[in-house]
Subunit: 291 residues, 2 copies
């Protein structure tokens, strides 16, 4: 479906896109692009057979390429668009895999002056607390949701090709507005990550004083799993979506204050109702998630 | 090691104590005690072979018994001590399995006037989001921490027998002061549960408006697993340890406010440091947990 795929950022996600594209015969060649400090990783990716070759020169890396996948931490988007700009062609489709989407358009607008019609942002809702090309697999996206966020300027044919690409990889594709995407993901992903980081930061300092981690169990392990996610990537995600997240943290603090009041007033019934509603809501989530 | 074990509250934990005691030959007979509304559950426990028999009359249930295990939600402790009081004997050792410990002594003091020297509170740090005798297993406590919280009035021999009982079941036993136990567990267990409940309560209401749960993934599933815990049990635990918990919620709200300020000020470095510290602290926890 593509001739030559260029992956920028051959880590867990970029590497898994490459492996999946190869497995399903969706391109003839896969090139990695990076800068000097990516050299070791690109060598490894080539050695693992994830990419056919790599190039540290952007003009050479884009020669013959008809699809570019940007899979670097979101904070680097503007720098990457700036690198690509002199060699940007209408016959390339450019997509990304970041966890926030409005920032892709704003970065592109700052660099290109307007949003290019061949830019189709996408967000595969898949990942793991591991990172790096060594952790990449060819089935990371199978049966996972993938959200495409086209702009009103986006070429419908470019969008259709990206949609089809992800569908062939096995993802369940939907399209929605970038701002709506960011509001949804702030709730279901960004807020939980921040709370897990905040909790482990808080308890980690207490543990340094009194070794409380000795008495933490499996519930704590699962609750904090996402606090082992890549800190660089999550710093970028949270800053890119900060307005949604700041509001949600306010909501959560209000919710926690309500629980404190129940405790203070020994309001057993209200506390039970809150916990019980939460348990039922989670059942509703599980029914959706498992289907 | 005991002749006749009486289990009050034959659910996940009580049933698993019974199964483990039987497996390791730690008693000759296991009796369940409950009230009219426990009848169906006691019938099931007997049918499953978890208990040998049950009794709805407390005097009869305690005949020949030398160890009583209270495994009901913590809120019922005072009522149970009141039921037991007329038939309390020096040759019975009484223990419980609740997640909070200072409240065991305060409930006993209210009922008995002073803390009985044959009361040895214990807390197995093991559980699951399932509940009920149907979920009970004979190895729930193997390699799990178990904390005994003796009082200065506690008979050392009674404590030794309870220690030995749990050790034979496979638990890793430690002893500590009840108040210290409650402070530690507030941090590693009670606060995470409350935050998971609070988060799912918050997002559950949002989901009712815009179906956000469709876009939640495996990270959210694990983060919220403990929000599926039994709401009755957790209402009791949180109320029993409310002073510790209220303070910790304040700490967490302060931590969340600090993160909001990083976001507001685009303080990338400080945000990264927080996330990075959390990731490293979690590694420290995992090294302890996995050994």
């Amino acid at each position: 479906m593509f001739n030559n795929l260029c992956i920028i950022g051959v880590g867990l996600i970029g590497g898994s896109v490459a492996r999946a594209a190869r497995k399903h015969g969706l391109c003839k060649k896969i090139t990695g692009f990076g800068r000097e400090n990516d050299l070791q990783n690109l060598e490894l990716a080539k050695k693992l057979g994830v990419i056919d070759d790599y190039n540290l020169n952007v003009e050479a890396a884009l020669t013959g390429v008809d699809c570019v996948v940007i899979a670097t931490p979101g904070g680097s988007l503007e720098a990457i668009f700036t690198l690509l700009k002199p060699f940007w062609r209408d016959d390339i489709i450019c997509t990304d895999v970041g966890s926030t989407k409005a920032n892709v358009f704003s970065a592109a607008e700052r660099v290109f002056g307007e949003i290019p019609n061949n830019l189709v942002p996408a967000h595969p809702i898949a990942g793991a607390e591991q990172s790096g090309v060594i952790a990449s697999v060819d089935d990371l996206f199978v049966a996972k949701r993938l959200i495409i966020t086209p702009h009103k300027l986006t070429d419908p044919l470019a969008m259709q090709r990206i949609w089809s690409f992800w569908e062939k990889i096995g993802a369940k594709v939907v399209a929605m507005d970038a701002n709506y995407h960011d509001a949804i993901l702030a709730a279901t992903s960004h807020l939980p990550h921040i709370v897990a980081f905040a909790m482990v930061d808080l308890l980690g300092h207490k543990d340094e004083q009194s070794a409380i981690f000795q008495y933490a169990a499996g519930g704590f392990r699962d609750f904090t799993r996402i606090a082992s996610s890549d800190p660089t990537m999550w710093t970028d995600i949270c800053l890119a979506n900060k307005h949604e997240i700041i509001q949600l943290i306010d909501d959560l603090k209000d919710e926690l204050t309500k629980i404190q009041q129940c405790l203070q007033n020994d309001d057993q019934q209200k506390l039970f109702n809150t916990f019980n509603y939460a348990g039922q809501a989670r059942q509703r989530f599980l029914r959706i998630y498992e289907n």
